[in-house]
């Protein structure tokens, strides 16, 4: 990865950074209770949204870029009009801070996960201010949620991943055995990636809950570190508590790169977001936003080649030796 741009967000510590649907813009939410809209390619700050009374922990933009939803430490979920910055709806029923918010595909529903152990589902179209459904299966805080085509995935500190399959009306609970901080469903909807507090990212098969891969060699013991999948589901990116951006190859689980954000800053990189189309990555460390661009894949390819060649050599040597003896 190559650092392309770095710019300060000037909103305190950045809690989350999110690309919009087409990757032309990004949203950041900070500890100074604001949400900012950026054009990251030119590091242009477009608008600042206020409304939360405490730090904003997550923000998501709708498919048509017309609305935002956000949740924060004030236990509220806000539904904001992008153009005017007006707060269209304000939902407050969570008993704890809201960790994650997400629109559905049509932006008619907001899912919000909170440390009160519930996921609440809000119907934007109705005038009701009560959630249409509360998913309170978690025994502990729900740390993050991810939305698939037909299902909702949540990660919880009770060490379980819950897959609410709406189409089949089933709830699958996967016991992971680690405190889970972040969940991410792959683009092909087949796998999900879970960040744990035991310094490993685990990749599971969504269908049967089997462990596919474990990604290690980074530090994540205290904070919620977000991870991301590349658009082709080939690489996995994650922040680290030692101020690095780390990339793995999904197949081989080999760490491809581990880049320090600042040589003198070892603060945790909590949040990152992958460009929906290109091989770009936005990360945030403290108050700065970093835009990364992927380098040519020469190194990795070589690595992969070497890997295969080694395999073959081993095989052939065995065979040859057998033949001669």
């Amino acid at each position: 990865m190559q650092l392309e741009r770095k710019f300060p967000a000037a909103q305190g510590a950045i809690r989350c950074v999110r690309y919009n649907i087409d990757g032309n813009y990004c949203l950041t939410s900070g500890s100074d209770r604001t949400i900012k809209l950026w054009k990251p390619d030119s590091s242009l700050a477009i608008k600042t949204y206020t409304g939360h009374s405490q730090e904003v922990l997550d923000v998501h933009s709708s498919y048509d870029n017309s609305r935002l939803c956000s949740g924060g430490g004030d236990k509220r979920v806000l539904y904001i009009d992008v153009m005017s910055g007006k707060i269209m709806k304000k939902y407050q029923a969570h008993a704890g801070r809201v960790q994650a918010v997400r629109f559905n595909e049509e932006a008619s529903i907001i899912f919000s996960a909170s440390i009160d152990g519930t996921v609440k589902i809000w119907d934007i179209k109705s005038r009701e201010y009560d959630p249409i459904q509360v998913l309170d299966d978690a025994k502990d805080s729900v740390t993050s949620l991810s939305l698939g085509n037909n299902e909702l995935l949540t990660s919880s500190l009770d060490q379980r991943v819950r897959i609410y399959d709406i189409r089949y009306g089933k709830l699958y609970e996967d016991y992971i055995g680690h405190n889970l901080t972040y969940i991410n469903i792959s683009h092909d909807q087949q796998c999900f990636l879970v960040g744990t507090l035991s310094s490993q990212i685990m990749l599971f098969d969504k269908i049967n809950g089997k462990l596919l891969q474990t990604f290690v060699d980074y530090t994540n013991n205290t904070y919620m570190i977000e991870n991301a999948l590349s658009n082709d589901d080939q690489y996995i990116y994650s922040g680290s508590e030692n101020g690095r951006l780390i990339c793995w190859n999904l197949l081989t689980a080999k760490q491809i790169c581990s880049i320090e954000h600042e040589s003198d800053n070892r603060k945790s990189v909590n949040t990152l977001t992958h460009h929906p189309k290109e091989d770009k990555l936005l990360t945030a460390q403290e108050g700065n936003i970093y835009l990364w661009k992927k380098q040519d894949k020469i190194e990795e390819k070589e690595e992969i080649k070497n890997f295969f060649i080694n395999d073959k050599q081993i095989n052939t040597s065995k065979f040859v030796s057998g033949g001669f003896e």
Binding site: K75, Q92, A93, A95, N104, E105, E106, S108, I109, D116, G117, I121, D123, K125, Y129, D130, P131, I132, Q133, V134, D136, D137, N150, Y164, D165, I166, R167, Y168, G169, K170, L171, Y172, E173, D174, Y175, I176, G177, F204, D205, N208, G209, K210, L211
Partner: protein
């Protein structure tokens, strides 16, 4: 070498020297195969081809459907409209001198060129009409030509061939193929004689009048005789037209005979006697001679339908069945004064016209069905489906030998069940009369209390039925011989969480904002905790969970993710969620039960709730008494005394609170601290035995308790109660508790309120040692007395009292044990 030219009016094949002749038109090659249509048709097509420009350019598989009216492939002029110039609007000019003529439009005005073409809707082409034969003529001519009879076909030939008349209809063709010839009749062949007879009858007169085949000689003789007669006897008058002269008659006869071939009839008869001839070609039509003097078209009476009846003389069959009635016809009852002459007085109702079955006349399908079934001789009906499988009969379960009817509760929790079970009807009757006589209230349960005891809270939605019911604590009668412990013994054994009660109450009474907020909060958090009441279940469940968890951990440690770590359960998404997500609901819409989610609110911030709690606690003493129910405010002194004894604070708090309401007058201001009180009430939940006693109320103590109740009521009404009796109680308790034995003594002897209360306390304190779950805060009792459902709780208390009465004997036995325990506790 002969070259033939097809030119109208020009013929130059024979004479080659006549080449000067002008040739008009194009010659066509007769050898050219013209299979499909006649030459004229080809001619027409050629012409149309020449004319129709679009046909050559636009070929959709050679088919040419076009025109605005046919909706074809191309419309208008080269797929545009009108002509090369497009639609030319017709000009309209009208001036004073030149008036515009009225123009009438024909359908053709709106048609395209294509519409007139061969496949258009209005083809303007030369075609062969139906009456002319198309194909046969051509083929015939071709055959002729090939046969070589006439090598050279002239144009006339061709034209003649074209205009061959098609005479034969298809029917005729068929008949001819069957051997019929034109001029014959159709039918069975008949003998010549018979045929002749027929013919004669038809051509001459009716067969009756004249002999079928009069011999010629006779006729002639007759005629001659007639002539002679006419001539001879002029007196004979002949009406009508005068007879023609005999010579003319002769000629007529001759001609007729010629026509009919009658002249050689005899000969033919003899010759062809055995030969059958086909029937006559013409229709047999009988003309009857008019022989009577009636008017033309007159018919006799019998066939006439005089009065509109079908038949005057035949009675309808159905009427026959009802033949008992002798008076018939509509004329019955019609008097002179009625002037309706047009009525047919003699008409009778034809009963056939009435329906005797409930069938719809128009129901053709069923009729058809019926017909069909009758025709096919099978029966249409529904037969009951008979499943082959027999119903499974299971044998009755085998009862274990040591099984006893009825459940035995653990001894500690329950006294022996009341010996006689009250008959249910009695209790029912009592239920209805609960409100009027206070006597019975003390004894009987009504539906609400029973429901409450049974855990059915549905009645809470109704308004509390009886607010006038005395508070539970007054249930101790001064004169009662039997000791009653108003405090429920169950308080300790089955405490449930505060929010349960909160929820109940909030649903029962109109909630204050603080209440709703609190309940919301409690509601939200409730399922995060488990109440200590179901502790055993809990422990079991916990142990199960622990086991499961360990299994999971083991699996995880072995990296065996998958089936071992996954658990699947049903989850019902909100139908609305499915709708919004564009996913069909896996369950029916009704299946979703959102009773869990209290629709109202939860909007309020939880922090608000806490704030409420805290602010209220600070303003505790200032709270006003809004509720009508009697409420105790523990004076600060009492609370302090309670607190002072650190060891027993918990116990006391639990013990005291139930006592307080008894002593407190209703007018006493109460604290608004419902939540804490709810703790108390929670504690009063019944043990299983109480359920029992509540359901099967014992009749024993009816009278006594009733009396008690009365007394209690009087008390509450008349005597203002000390505001802070608690201190004394507390002091009592503090004294009595260590001296368990003494309390036991007082227990029996004392009938005063204080003594009773002390007894209760002791008991409670003893039981309180069994309390599981979180310790109750010491200052709780002070706030405890906001009771919205006092009536219910009063009833509960009453029932409890009765129950206690029954129970007290057994308590004697128990006491020693309890005392020991309490001693232990204190020291």
């Amino acid at each position: 070498m002969s070259s033939r030219y097809a030119g109208f009016g020009s013929r130059n094949d024979d004479n080659e020297s006549n080449e000067n002749f002008v040739t008009i038109g194009t010659h066509f090659d007769p050898a050219e195969p013209t299979n499909s249509t006649s030459i004229l048709a080809t001619l027409g097509r050629k012409a149309s081809k020449l004319v129709d420009l679009s046909s050559s350019n636009y070929g959709y598989d050679g088919k040419r459907f076009h025109g605005a009216f046919t909706g074809g492939f191309n419309a208008g002029f080269y797929n545009t409209v009108g002509s090369i110039e497009g639609w030319r609007p017709s000009e309209f000019k009208s001036s004073r001198t030149e008036r515009a003529g009225k123009r009438s439009y024909e359908p053709e005005d709106f048609m395209d060129k294509g519409d007139f073409s061969e496949h258009g809707i209005n083809p303007k082409q030369i075609k062969i009409r139906n009456i002319f034969d198309q194909n046969e003529s051509v083929t015939r001519s071709v055959i002729k030509q090939q046969s070589g009879t006439s090598n050279q076909r002239t144009n006339e030939d061709i034209l003649r061939d074209m205009i061959r008349v098609k005479t034969l209809s298809i029917g005729k063709k068929i008949l001819m193929s069957m051997g019929w010839k034109p001029g014959e009749g159709v039918g069975v062949k008949m003998s010549r004689k018979h045929r002749q007879k027929l013919k004669w009858s038809l051509t001459q007169e009716t067969p009756k009048d004249r002999p079928p085949s009069p011999p010629k000689s006779e006729e002639e003789e007759q005629q001659q005789q007639q002539q002679q007669q006419q001539e001879q006897i002029p007196g004979v008058k002949v009406y009508g037209v005068a007879m023609p002269p005999p010579s003319f008659q002769q000629t007529i006869k001759k001609t007729s005979r010629l026509d009919d071939d009658n002249d050689d009839d005899d000969y033919d008869d003899r010759l062809y006697a055995n030969i059958n001839l086909p029937p006559l070609d013409y229709e047999v039509h009988f003309q009857l001679q008019k022989r009577e003097h009636h008017g033309l078209g007159y018919k006799g009476l019998e066939s006439l339908n005089l009065f509109g009846h079908n038949n005057l003389f035949v009675q309808p069959s159905i009427e026959k069945q009802i033949s008992n009635v002798k008076i018939r016809g509509q004329a019955f009852g019609v008097g002179i004064e009625e002037d309706e002459d047009d009525k047919d007085l003699f008409a009778e109702d034809d009963l056939k016209q009435y329906d005797y079955e409930l069938t719809t006349a128009n129901d053709n399908t069923t009729d058809i069905m019926r017909q069909k079934t009758q025709e096919n001789n099978f029966v249409l009906k529904f037969a009951r489906y008979e499943s082959i499988s027999m119903s499974v009969v299971y044998p009755p379960p085998t009862i274990p030998i040591d099984f006893r009817i009825g459940h035995r509760f653990p001894k500690s929790a329950m006294p022996p069940p009341p010996p006689p079970l009250p008959p249910p009807p009695a209790s029912l009757s009592n239920e209805t009369s609960v409100n009027e006589p206070p006597k019975q209230i003390s004894i009987k349960h009504d539906a609400n209390t029973r429901g409450l005891l049974l855990g059915d809270l549905s009645f809470l939605s109704r308004p509390p039925p009886n607010m006038s019911v005395p508070p539970p604590n007054v249930s101790v009668p001064p004169s009662s011989k039997v000791e009653v412990t108003p405090v429920k013994p169950t308080t300790i054994s089955t405490p449930s969480l505060e929010w349960d009660v909160e929820k109940e109450r909030s649903s029962h009474t109109t909630p204050t904002p603080t209440n709703t907020a609190r309940t919301q909060f409690l509601d939200a958090i409730k399922n995060r905790f488990t109440s200590s009441s179901d502790r055993i279940e809990m422990t079991e469940r916990q142990s199960l969970e622990v086991a499961l968890e360990s299994d999971l951990k083991k699996a995880v440690s072995l990296n065996l993710y998958g089936d071992l770590t996954r658990s699947t359960s049903d989850w019902k998404p909100n139908p609305l969620l499915c709708k919004r997500m564009n996913i069909p609901n896996p369950y029916s819409d009704d299946a979703y039960n959102d009773s869990k989610e209290s629709k109202k609110s939860r909007r309020q911030l939880c922090s608000n709730l806490f704030e409420h709690l805290f602010t209220q606690s600070s303003t505790d003493s200032l709270t006003s008494s809004e509720q009508s129910s009697p409420i105790t405010i523990p004076p600060p002194s009492s609370s302090s005394s309670l607190i002072s004894n650190t060891n027993e604070t918990i116990i006391r708090s639990s013990t005291i609170t139930p006592v307080i309401p008894q002593v407190q007058p209703s007018s006493v201001p109460k604290s608004e601290f419902a939540p804490i009180e709810s703790f108390e009430q929670e504690n009063q939940e019944r043990p299983p035995l109480d359920f029992f006693s509540a359901i099967f109320d014992n009749q024993h103590s009816d009278d006594e308790s009733a009396d008690e109740q009365e007394v209690e009521e009087k008390k509450t009404d008349d005597i203002p109660k000390p505001i802070n009796p608690q201190s004394s109680i507390v002091s009592n308790s503090s004294i009595t508790k260590p001296l368990a034995s003494s309390s036991s003594i007082t227990y029996q002897s004392d009938h005063s309120d204080s003594s009773d209360s002390s007894i209760e306390e002791i008991e409670v304190s003893e039981k309180s040692s069994f309390v599981y779950g979180p310790a109750i805060p010491s200052n709780l009792p002070s706030r405890s007395k906001t009771d919205h459902d006092n009536s219910i709780w009063a009833k509960l208390a009453n029932t409890n009292a009765q129950y206690e009465e029954l129970k007290h004997k057994k308590k004697h036995k128990k006491k020693k044990k309890h005392d020991k325990k309490s001693k232990k506790h204190h020291h």
